[in-house]
Amino acid sequence: MTDGTSRDATGLEHKVRGVDHTAFPTFDPAATVRFYRDTLGFPVVHSICAAGWGPEDHPDFIHFFFDIGNDDRIAFFYYFGLEPIHDRERGDVYAGFGPEVPEFFVRSRHLAIHVDDQDDLLEYRRRLDDSAWPVEMQIQHETIESIYTHDPNGYMVEFTRAMRPVTPQEDLDATLTIDALLDVVAEPEPSFGKLLARKAELIVERAADWELSRTTEGARQ
């Protein structure tokens, strides 16, 4: 990240190093391994075999991890003897939704895995299309290209590549968006129109100075 990031706003040093792991329950470890290891080729890199303990009558479980690149990992919990906790058709094994929940909301939560270029994206498309979990959607926006499918547990997985590098001005824009959003949601009845009006005020206040400070920094380097 460049100018306009949270460090400028908060003064807090940004020391974290990406995703260690993100974890999900599974009731079908066999299909989960077929999907992540055998179809996608994600190495199994870690596992924990744990006897249940504690006051909650915790079942025995296996916690297993796949490498998703960059030393980041996706992990699963398989609990022996635990039956699926819901029988709704919409959603995933973690959370089911009734017909009252709009589809865009059900589809909002997902994991997006980064690839370097279109060759790599299409390679994962080939692997998925040859499997029981073919690509459901391939979308090319002007800025990104992505493929989507659902894993055997119903979790949505995206592979994405950037069509161009992120520019410094996008970091500024994101900062202004969030500042405007916080202002708007602090008032009654937040709306997109109110956000764009507030953001216009912030652009007038800050955009010229941001450009000037970048130019000055560039001249010093």
């Binding site: 926006h141 764009l196 009006a197």
Partner: protein, 81 residues
Amino acid sequence: MTALYVLDVPENTTVAKVAAEDPAVTVGKLGPYFEISADGAIVVDRRATGCRHAVWYSCVAGVGGGRIVQHDKNALRVDPA
């Protein structure tokens, strides 16, 4: 005065270019943003920009002194407040 702000990134440049074709509209820069301004309405034809949906529906950074009255697959229109 109505002002429409659009971030200057490659996929947004045609929005400013098409807006500038209206002689009543002025397009300048404010930092890294295009500042598209007019005394009256600002209208941008989507097809003329060549923008597809994802960019088209997210190209507006801010609206000053007016409000969006149309933002669909045909056009973006900002009217004075």
